[in-house]
């Protein structure tokens, strides 16, 4: 059958054409995104808590721990802190991804969707789009709080925007890992516990909160050479100025690596979900 002939019978018997399929994939992704955003609007408490937690971290590190942490950053610890905490917040947004997918799997929602003639990519894509929207809003609120407690971008508007974009892309990459674990583990409590086990060390054993030279040597070896440090050092250079090229390339390479490995794994887990 030619593409034209098959398009005319789309929705009935034949396989729809490529253009129709692409359009459906878009509209399916939009429908799932809309659904996920609606669910959050119905549970405002959830949104508030996901924002309050990083705000508490900002205040805690700015006023409690910050005074004890020596940094050579212009503008003091608050300028050092904000890119780090934004990176960590983007990574922690992935908890929502993993938990929501595990819940949908358990309740049979994913079975229902997989038994329907909708695009196979839409559930994951819609989840990632909605989650990055939520992440972006959280980052904006954090920046507002950061400005209130003394943080300032000192490297111009363009790099500042680039920093937010990098943080969001980093968050989406971590969400891909979380989507895979959520679908593979399939139990919300286990998924949450598992998320803490790998995300806490990864974000705290990095340059997010303290200069790495203050750590013992064996820990520096890890902290200096892991993706969270690459990304946060790049964000810091974008926000405050300073050398950027080396860390930017390392960031791009490691984020690309995460997407290449975990996006297919997440898609596979969705196709085989049970």
């Amino acid at each position: 059958m030619t593409a034209i002939a098959s398009t005319t019978v789309a929705g009935h018997q034949g396989d729809p054409g490529l253009v129709t399929r692409a359009r459906w994939a878009m509209s399916d992704t939009l429908a799932i995104t809309r659904r996920n955003l609606l669910v959050w609007m119905r549970v405002p408490a959830y949104l508030v808590f996901t924002v309050i937690q990083p705000v508490m971290f900002v205040l805690l590190f700015r006023y409690v721990f910050g005074g004890a942490i020596p940094v050579r950053t212009t503008g003091g610890y608050v300028n050092f802190l904000m890119p780090g905490i934004i990176g960590q917040t983007a990574a922690f947004a992935s908890f929502g991804t993993a938990i929501a997918l595990a819940q949908e799997l358990k309740k049979g929602v994913i079975d229902r969707l997989r038994s329907m003639p909708m695009a196979r990519s839409a559930v994951l894509a819609g989840r990632l789009v909605a989650d990055s929207g939520r992440m972006f809003i959280t980052i904006m609120i954090l920046l507002g709080v950061g400005y209130a407690v003394g943080f300032r971008f000192t490297n111009g508007a363009g790099p500042a925007i680039a920093m937010v974009v990098l943080a969001t892309v980093f968050g989406i990459a971590i969400c891909c890992i979380a989507a895979y674990t959520g679908l593979a583990i399939g139990d919300e409590e286990s998924v949450q516990a598992f998320g803490l086990i790998w995300l806490f060390p990864l974000t705290f054993l990095s340059s997010a909160f303290v200069p790495i030279y203050t750590m013992p040597g064996w820990l520096q070896a890890f902290a200096n050479n892991q993706p969270v440090t690459y990304v946060i050092d790049t964000m810091r250079a974008l926000a405050l100025g300073g050398p950027i090229a080396a860390n930017l390339w390392k960031s791009i390479a490691s984020l690309a690596g995460i997407f290449v490995v975990f996006l297919p794994l997440a898609v596979r887990a969705y196709r085989r979900a049970s």
Binding site: A31, R34, V39, K107, V109, D111, M116, P117
Partner: protein
Amino acid sequence: MTEANGGPAIIAEGLTKSFGDVHALRGIDLSVPRGTVLGVLGPNGAGKTTAVRILTTLLQPDGGRALVEGRDVVREAAAVRRSIGLAGQSAAIQEELTGRENLEIIGRLWHLSWPAARSRAAELLEQFGLSDAADRPAKTYSGGMQRRLDLSASLVGHPQVLFLDEPTTGLDPRSRLGMWDIIRSLVAAGTTLLLTTQYLDEADELADEIVVIDHGLVIAAGTAEELKGRVGGDVLEFTVPDRPRIADGVAAAARVGEGEPHADPETGMVSVGVGGRGSEALVDAVRSLDAAGVETRGLTLRRPSLDDVFLALTGHAAEEEQPGGRRRGRRRGGGRPGSGAGGATVSAAGSRDEARAAS
């Protein structure tokens, strides 16, 4: 249009599926004519859900093949999905959203336009008696309402073939009867239905044909009446309250009955098939029990239920948990697959599979 469009709505041949060393399906054959209801009956873990998941393209079989509306569930999965609806064991709905929003989103995912999705949602809410609750979050619904919403979600795309996996499990008796009415009206409208259940009365009530599955095999098939005929006529039943005397009760039952009596050591319930001897057997039983000095309660003669069929076929009751190994020793000759199903359109697994599984 394929020639298969004139054939059965669902065909399965020799479906097998294993999870590690658990053999969920050992070779299942099914054939469901258009517009009819097949009841797949079996205890927990018999393989019912696995079969449904294969037929609805959620799971790939290890062996065998299956067609739904003439389309192969593995090679033409996308086409199969356009003709089916699935409602599983739990209410697969988004509880934070209203009933209307749930159905509208499903409509959009069926690629209906917004106006069409809205009117389809309103139509289904009306049909399922959910109009008044349509704009309330689904988490405020009762269990029965959630199941109705879930069922209506499976109907958004006007499926020709509907799969209901234990649609009334966990519902109270009233909601259950309401669900039966809804299911009957769907079938009356021409939908082909495959229904799994562990409730024997449900299969009796709704299904044109019944297959009994146990340990991943079809162990019997036929209409409810044909299956009941396997038990051998009427059933004599009584309870022995004094447990040490159960054995005497069984001995008395064996003297008057035609088949082998079955006793439940926990409830003291003894039952035996008495063929066509009806009231004569009842009188004999009273005499025999009296002579043995066994006190009984609730001595009755009744038409066989599917419970009796299950007992006769498998040697264990349908809802009974099976600790450890399989107990098949009590199965009678009449329980061989396929035998006695007459002209039934449902055929059972080949005897080769049966022999392999039994070894």
